[in-house]
Subunit: 468 residues, 4 copies
């Protein structure tokens, strides 16, 4: 499983060469010893000695089985929250006298003690990686141990400070980049799989293709997120002409359009900390400076929630999906229906207004666009520009979006305004041609509670990891 190998990779980075042989004979560690190690790590006062205790703990952690690791998280949750008596006293004092001093004392008392443990683990070489990897393991336990959520929340807050955009490095990835980084690009690409090194090469070693990623000084060769860009002469309407190995590259100076055709988050352990918006904005800025002929910045994005929404919508008593379309949907299950011209034509006619409606009108439980990729780009201030039928014939895209893809467009001067309208008024930016499409869709009134359900978390997370 991928996460395990990431975890092992990251943890092995902690254990440098001195530990080379040691690694193979894991030691048994008692629960009491683990608890004592955490206590020492928390209470020790010298910074330098903290380092040794942190290394010792991480080595012990590395050798733990799954139950041992669960014990660690549960101990952090139960024994290392804020000190209850101190917090109650500080709360009382503030209520008695709501001064700045008492507010500050309350802030201090409210910080969970485990935060200090995490800070100390971050002191050692490899500590940041280890904590990112540990948060991944925490996720895996949340279903059975919901009380661990506060531990997760503490880590997320720390990561938000440590992975502040100001600390990230933008790097262009090309054929001069090290194999160590490139193999991670191959592994992490989540939208349009990279088959092998030759496929990678077609994406980074030709004049009209670019790849940029954010890195963090402490995670070394590990990308946080990356975006793949095609330089073209038109806004693309399908993915195949971009990925094919049979095309001729164009002169980048002649390109008018930069297409963000794939964005992949790489570190599941950093879930909830968002980098994509900055990445797109900075890449667009840099490209515009390098290539003054670039005028249009668009994505070519999947619509991961469309097919599921359509199924659910079709099943409703009062539905945006009329009877003929409902019947049509049954014909779209197989892989080859796009090859039947009549069927394809019928599907395009029936579904295009519905996907337009889905993208602009369907909302999740929090009132945001139901589609996670739409949510991401519209939230960034892009506008919905174009809906492309039969744009991705890969089985995954057929199953989740009946082969549709869409272009979101970033107009740099409008991004701020779109973003504000989206956040404050829930307004989706889209061009008239798209909004006109939705007019044919008739839906009976219904209350929000009965509206399309939010995607269940794991799927949403996955879609988010591949937001483009």
């Amino acid at each position: 499983m991928r996460q395990t190998s990431v975890l092992d990779d990251l943890l092995s980075a902690i254990t440098d060469n001195r530990l080379f042989r040691e690694r193979r004979r894991p030691k048994r560690i008692s629960r009491a010893d683990l608890a004592a190690m955490l206590a020492a790590l928390y209470s020790g006062q010298g910074e330098a000695s903290s380092t040794e205790r942190a290394e010792e703990f991480l080595r012990a952690y590395r050798d733990l089985d799954s139950a041992g690791r669960t014990f660690v998280y549960r101990t952090l949750a139960t024994d290392y929250g804020p000190e209850p008596d101190a917090l109650a006293a500080a709360a009382k004092a503030y209520l008695d006298k709501p001064s700045e001093t008492n507010a500050k004392a309350l802030q201090v008392a409210a910080e969970p003690r485990r935060v200090e443990i995490f800070r100390r683990l971050n002191l050692v070489q490899g500590g940041t990686q280890a904590l990112v990897a540990m948060r991944l393991e925490l996720f895996a336990r949340l279903a059975n141990h919901p009380e661990l959520w506060t531990v997760d929340d503490d880590l997320r807050r720390l990561f938000q400070a440590w992975f502040n955009r100001g600390f990230l490095l933008l790097r262009e990835i090309d054929w001069q980049t090290s194999a160590a980084i490139l193999e991670k690009i191959i592994r992490y690409e989540a939208v349009h799989e990279i088959q092998d090194w030759e496929d990678l090469r077609r994406r980074i070693d030709v004049p009209d293709r670019r790849l940029f990623g954010f890195f963090h000084p402490r995670l070394g060769d590990e990308p946080l997120i990356f975006v793949e860009v095609a330089l073209t002469e038109d806004v693309p309407t399908a993915i195949e002409p971009i990925l094919t190995d049979k095309r001729e590259p164009i002169d980048p100076q002649a390109a008018t359009t930069a297409v963000f055709y794939s964005i992949s988050n790489c570190q599941d352990g950093l879930r909830g900390i968002s980098f994509g918006s900055f990445l797109i904005k900075q890449v667009a800025d840099d490209l515009a400076r390098e290539l003054p002929n670039l005028k249009t910045f668009v994505t070519l994005s999947p619509v991961p929630g469309f097919a599921q929404w359509l199924r659910e919508e079709a099943a409703r008593p009062t539905s945006a999906v009329d009877e003929p379309t409902r019947l049509l949907l049954d014909s779209l299950d197989g892989p080859d229906w796009l090859d039947d011209p009549a069927l394809a034509k019928a599907a395009e006619t029936a579904l295009t207004p519905l996907i337009a409606y889905y993208l602009t009108e369907a909302k999740d439980a929090r009132g945001r666009p139901a589609d996670p990729v739409a949510r991401f780009h519209l939230g960034n201030g892009a506008r919905l520009e174009q809906i492309n039928f039969a744009a991705d014939r890969a089985p995954g895209a057929l199953a989740t979006a009946h082969g549709y893809m869409v272009n979101y467009r970033y107009i740099l001067s409008d991004v701020e305004r779109n973003h504000e309208a989206f956040v404050n008024e829930g307004k989706v930016a889209c061009i008239n041609a798209v909004s006109r499409l939705t007019r044919g869709v008739k839906v009976a009134e219904r209350d929000a509670a009965a509206g399309p359900k939010q995607l269940p978390p794991p799927a949403a997370e996955k879609a988010n990891a591949a937001a483009s």
Copy 2:
């Protein structure tokens, strides 16, 4: 004045070339506009637009006069603490039901709102420098505006997260280093002033001298702290033979001793965030690995609080300073008394037990060693190894320490034990020869409150900045 120029340097880093000409015509900004900018910075929800607002605010700040800057800090203090009603409600809820959920809600409510503003300022290119520079300006206002202390505390906590030792880079500084960094070394050396580039060269471009510094990815060429090391064949008893331009370098492979003869903190804006302990430990480790013949790691350190303590002690009714010594002290004011052999001999006999007493017994109001440099090294787990009379004849050293210097020794295997004993029992590690010296010092009992006062903050701070 140094701080101003640092500030200007740092702030000018924010304003890149596009602003080249603009810089010269500062615009007047009204208080209302400033307040609105802060409000927009706090409330804006898009990450990308935050960046623009942060840049806009920093440009405005750069053009403010002193009163305008004070206005900014006061607004942050009064309008951007935790939201009082929300905090009170959260405090009440926790007291009613001290659950994890309520504790977390209380933690969230207790975070001052200005912290979010600082996080957003950190998003932009140059943001970290700007915040470090702003904290310097905040210090300058604390005396007249004591209510600003919470703003300072918030910045300190953020810096503690951002400047976690895990994010620091250790770099060796030598003649291959850029002039941009070297000039900062010249400027920041606070213990033994570097006269010019030739003097610098004698400290970094000879085989038996080394210089190491910590850097942070976001501060670029700005060192945080650096240490100068001499490789010698003996523990040194004076500074002149180390700094002289008339010595022959030795083969580093033949050296047995690494002398940390100067440690300088460079960023006053990072006051309260300690790097020295890590630096010494890591440099000692690296040198030990590179030069296996190195067996002894010592400092050659100033005693910045001795003369002042002695004056105060001598003025007490029941004092450790006897009458003849009191008279002798009056003879030590001029610059040349060390050249009078009889006087020098008398001073050495009288003062050496007193300085041993000062270093090992005199405490500050918080029960820690009164001398800031002693506090630093003993707190790191070093032991007081040797007291050197007439070790530094520079006017500053004569004025603050009657020319004394001391060696603190780092024995890597004892550091942890010494540190624990120091923290838990207040025990000062020193060799017998030193503790024997103090036996001759007789002091009548007196209560702690009447004990030697803590150095007033500015002086203490300065001494700390040059802790070695």
Copy 3:
């Protein structure tokens, strides 16, 4: 074909982005124009304008067809040798008065004029690569145009100056190296083919494998030669345990032996300029410094000429190969004979003395060891250490060496002595066990002229390109 793609790669490096579109419409260039371009290139006196003429010529050359290129080489051969009258005059003057001045004038007159043309081509970006690529094309024409040999000789002499070992850079190649370099390693490995990126990774991204190459500042990412090293606990007797993907890496600190198991020359255009001896020596030095436990430096090398020599030897009337062995040889043609224990045993018994004899006694027409790999390592001062039966079961190794491999050992303190004895006395260094093996081989006296013929140039060259 490989050479063509190398050539295109190299020449395309000349043509930078400005030429991007131009590249697709090759222009026809007349013979007269080509001749005029060469003349202008030779006669132009300004250095700066030489650059433009050189670029212009290289662009023209790039667009030439094969006949056009042949015309260029023939023109260089016939029209740009030394100026005959001037050379004759200088020769006469020297014979009249053999002074230093006349010797110098003769030296100047004897330099072919094309050398100046080559120097000027080297001025431009990509010029060195172009000349290396052009020499490759020259080789291809030597068979039909033997008069071009002097042009080749001129290039070789220039390359000898430009690729002086002092200008080479040794780089360690590992997983941090750029994909651009790694793909060349995959392409150029000539001894034990690298299947794919995973196979490469097994050779450079494990603790007990290393790869080092020589690079030249002007050839960028193009390696000149590289060597692959395995760190082991014993002298290996077969290649499979080194290349297998089923082994566990060892701790490099525990290794006692460095095995040079593959050496590949990469630039056929630099034929005749030898780098291997320096590479082995420098890598051995560097490894010995890094890993003090390394005591033994050996190769695991092919014997590319053995099978052919054996066939020729067996065909002689008075031969070292006796009748039973002659018959046995016919059984060794298929791929599986090593799986027949009796046959394998018989082959080992019969062939091992013969290969020992071949390696130590068989000479080429110039009196050097007949085997090119033996010639290389013995000439470097290594000694023949061990002969390994059934050491390489790959079809190529079975065909050229009946599966044998040998170890040559570099004992750093003996290298000089061995080398001198080899050069001055033709003495082959080998351990007694090997020389004892040869005693059983009886060969009637015969004259040198009838001795084993030297391998024909192309094959020899190929073997040399993969000398290990």
Copy 4:
């Protein structure tokens, strides 16, 4: 003396740390041993062992006194020229049959044997530096030992191959550059002395000043040549406004003119190998690309030979210098004559036509412009643009050029044509305003032999070293 220290620097680079202590006890080496070392170095056949012999020789050389070094050069001159018998035989063979083969054999026989020694010395770490340093020492001996000229010529030819422009690296030098390089810039600046690090900073750490140098991979931090550039809004007429510390920098984007105000050759040991033409051309190209508003590329150059030429001219019976001017010249000896307005006016009126005449008409013995700086820039294809009176008041400039400076202008599209006209027809490119100036100058006809003598070599060399 400067050269000695350069030599010691360079030679000490050969002797790495292993030799640290050894360096202080030079060993006496007999003449016979020296001769034997040279013989071994020449005759040894193994490349690897060559390295050891070369190191051994260079260590020995380093410890030699001046007479010992002279012995080395004389031995190289007398014993290591071409082998006389072989050369005579080859010359005869060629005269008998002037075939390509015999021409090649003659070329081989004509190469002095010492060239192989130099190639082998170049094999070792630091070898190139050592040879460059040795050529410097050779220069110092040429006056007393004219027979050494062939040795010098051999080195020059080798350097021409090794320092081919294709191998040079252009680097921009700024405040991010290492102190090791910057101190060399300070030391080598030969035209307008750099006072100290602050002066240097004014030339490289402001937005409207640039400094570029050529480096060679083998000489590490040693620049070969560098040029200082000022970005301005006008063609400058004096040096002081460029060098002053009292100016405000301008925005480089607003600059229209790039002024090459100082060019310094750094390696006297590379005398005769010209880099300046390439440097100017490449820097002009790079700046034009970076700053599209730059339209004008000019120098601000000294006229180092004017005063001497004027003295000699004035002393002739039929002279371009009339009587009043002759008298005037006597008033221009002191330092302050420019402060006397009447005198200054008279000098300008009288001398400006003469300097125009000197620059455009006066020739050296080989028919080239008499002034070395004029020769350099006109030879590069620049044109004489402007003559500036009272442009440099430094004592040196007053003594050599009566304070005049001139601008040579590089018009990229004319460079080629100017250069050809200069080389083929001896035509000096200058604007009409300048050529008109010369009309007033009347000189009686005289033959070339009686013309102004070429500057004696050492002075010419120095002027060339500072050609700008």
